[in-house]
Symmetry: C2
Subunit: 340 residues, 2 copies
C-alpha cells in the first residue's frame, strides 16, 4: 500500500542499496545521485518503514521506562513528571518511550517487562526502587540502562540523581540564617535513597552551622512520604512537646500534611514555625501560605537520563558514572520572608 524504498529506487533509476545509503547518510555516494534520490523521496513523500528498518538494523527506536508500581501511584506525581521529561527528550533524539511498571513481588522469568523479552527497546530508564533480580537480568541482556533518582546497592551504574545533600543544606541554612536554631525534620520511606540523603544533608547542615543534632526533633519513621504521612509525623512531633521554630520536611507533600496538622493545633506558619519543603510541586503556590521549598526540575531529570542513555546507545558500550541535578531553594511565605 504505502510507498517503499523500492518505488524510490526504480523511480530514481538506482538500486535499493543506493537509496538506503542516501537515507542513512553513508559515505561513498556521489552528490549528484544523492540529490536525485532526495528529490524522488520528496516527490513521493517517502518515509522508511520503522518496523522493516528495525528488523534489518537490529534497532527499535524505542526506549523503555521501568518504574515500580507503588511509586507510580504516589499521590505526588514526581515520576510522572520525570517520565514526561524523558518523552520530550527522547522525541528530540527520534526515540519513543515505552512505559511499564513492575511490582515489589517481582519474580524472575515471570514479571520481566514484555519489551525486554520481545527485544523491543534499545535501552531502558530505571526509575525508583527496581528489584535487584530485574537489574541483574537487564545487565545480562546487555541492554544499556540508566538509573533515575535511585542507586542499586551493587554493580557498575550510570545514574542521574538529585543533589539532595545540597538541597537539604540550602533549606536548613536558609532557616539558620533566619535565626532559627531549633529545626525539626520530618521524613519517611527511609529505604529510598533520596529521603535518606535529605536527612543526612539536614544533619550535616546543622553541624556546619554549629547546631548539634537533637534526635527528638526528628520524625522519620513514616512508611511513605505522602500528605498523610506528613500529617501523622507532625502529630507525633507535636505530641512530644519539644520546642522548635523551624521545620524541614522531606518533601512538599509531607510539608503540606504538616501544615494541615499544625493548623489544627493552632500552630501558625510562618509566625510560630518556619517551614521548608522539598520538590517544588505545583500546588505549593495554591496553598496558604505559599510554600518555601527546594526546586527540583523533574522534567530536566528525565531529560538528563535520556541524554546519558542515548550517548551509551550511540557509543555501543556501557558508560559508567553519576550526574547530579542541581537544585535551588525558592523562598516563599512559609518561612516568613515577605516578598514584595
Amino acid at each position: 500500500m504505502g510507498v517503499t524504498i523500492k518505488d524510490v529506487a526504480s523511480k530514481a533509476g538506482v538500486s535499493l542499496s543506493t537509496v538506503s545509503l542516501v537515507l542513512n547518510k553513508k559515505k561513498n555516494v556521489s552528490e549528484e545521485t544523492r540529490q536525485k534520490v532526495m528529490r524522488v523521496i520528496e516527490a513521493l513523500d517517502y518515509h522508511p518503514h520503522r518496523i522493516a528498518r528495525g528488523l534489518a538494523s537490529k534497532t527499535t527506536g524505542n526506549i523503555g521506562f521501568i518504574l515500580t508500581e507503588d511509586h507510580f501511584s504516589r499521590a505526588e506525581p514526581f515520576y510522572t513528571k520525570v517520565f514526561l521529561g524523558t518523552e520530550f527528550e527522547a522525541r528530540a533524539h527520534h526515540y519513543y518511550m515505552l512505559l511499564t511498571t513492575v511490582n515489589g513481588s517481582f519474580r524472575k522469568n515471570k514479571h520481566i517487562p514484555r519489551f525486554l523479552l520481545e527485544k523491543n527497546v534499545d535501552g531502558v530508564i530505571l526509575a525508583g526502587h527496581i528489584p535487584a533480580v530485574l537489574i541483574e537480568y537487564i545487565r545480562k541482556t546487555k541492554t544499556p540502562f540508566v538509573f533515575v533518582d535511585f542507586l542499586p546497592k551493587t554493580g557498575a551504574v550510570s545514574a542521574v540523581l538529585i543533589d539532595n545533600v545540597d538541597g537539604a543544606r540550602q533549606a536548613v541554612s536558609h532557616l539558620t540564617q533566619l535565626g532559627h536554631n531549633r529545626i525539626a525534620f520530618v521524613g519517611g520511606d527511609m529505604d529510598h535513597p533520596s529521603l535518606k540523603v535529605r536527612l543526612e544533608g539536614y544533619k550535616k547542615a546543622l553541624l556546619e552551622s554549629g547546631i548539634s543534632v537533637d534526635e527528638n526533633l526528628i520524625v522519620a519513621d513514616e512508611p511513605s512520604t505522602a500528605f498523610e504521612d506528613g500529617y501523622n509525623a507532625m502529630c507525633k512531633l507535636l505530641k512530644r512537646g519539644v520546642e522548635f521554630s523551624g521545620l524541614f520536611a522531606g518533601n512538599d507533600a509531607m510539608a503540606q500534611g504538616c501544615l494541615r496538622c499544625m493548623r489544627e493545633h493552632d500552630v501558625r506558619v510562618p509566625d510560630d514555625v518556619a517551614l521548608v519543603g522539598f520538590d517544588d510541586i505545583e500546588n505549593d503556590l495554591m496553598i496558604e501560605p505559599n510554600l518555601t521549598t527546594v526546586h527540583v526540575d523533574k522534567v530536566e531529570l528525565g531529560a538528563m537520563a535520556i541524554r546519558r542513555l542515548v550517548e551509551m546507545i550511540k557509543a555501543g558500550h556501557f558508560i559508567q558514572g553519576k550526574t547530579l541535578l542541581p537544585v535551588e531553594l525558592v523562598v516563599r511565605r512559609s518561612t516568613g520572608v515577605s516578598i514584595k
Copy 2:
C-alpha cells in the same frame, strides 16, 4: 544471539510454520504437537521478536497518543492522567503507547507525527483540540482512531466524552438544594467542547430548578482554564458587585483561583459563598476548605478510549459512536455541608 523460532522448531522436531501456528493459537494443530512445542518454548524461554513479528504480520503492537502542546503544559495535569489511563489499559491488551504532541501552527506534510509516517502504530488516540488537517490525514491512512474529551466539527467519529451536562446538573442542583438561587458561573477557553457544555449544563440545570439565567452572574471569557484564569474571572465578578451565594467553576483549577481571590476580598467560603468545582483533582483535599466538586475518573476515561480502539483494531473496520463517562458529585466542605 537470542533464541528464535527456528531453534524452537528444530528442537521440537517440527517446522517453523507449525511453531508459528501454535504461537498464534490457530486451528488445525494437534493437541499432541501443541503440547510438545509449548514445552520446548518453555524450556528455551522463547519469546517472539516483536519487530520481526511486526514486519510479517503488518502489525506494530503500538498505539499512538496525540495531544496538543498547549493542553499538555496546562497546569492541571488532566491529560497526563488520561494518558496514564491509556497506558494501563493498553498494557492489558498487550499494546504499548507512543506519545506525541502537535502544536497549533500545524502544517501538513511537515508536522505529521513520526509514528504515523513510519507506520509504527496500529491506531491512535486523539486528545484535546487536534488540527482538522491532521484528522483528515489520519482518516486517509485508514488508521483506527478514537477521540477523548473532544469532538471535531465534521465527519464520522468514535469518541469518549465526559458527561459534562450531567456533571453540571449535579453541581448546580446540589447548590439549589442547599437553598441557593443566586448561582454564578466562572469558565474560560470556550473553544473547548467540555467547558462549553458545562456552561450549557449550568444554564439547563438552573432552568430546571425554575431559576432564570442571569448573564451578570457568568464570567466565561478567560483565555484558558488555569488557576490564574479563575483568579482573574473571580476578580471581575466581584467587581461587578452582583450578589450571589453559590458558585460553579468550570474546573477545579479555576475554582481554586476563585477561592484565592475571594479570600483576598474577605469573601468566606462556604459561609458567604458555596463553591463547586469540576474534575476532582488531587489537591482539592489539600486546600482549605476541601473542595466540593464533580469527580471525573480521568484514568478510566483513557481506559475507555483504549477499549474502544482495540475493539476497532480487532474488528478491522471503523466503529462509529460516542461513549459518555459518568461523573459524580463529591460533597466536601466548600459547600458548607458538614461531614462527620
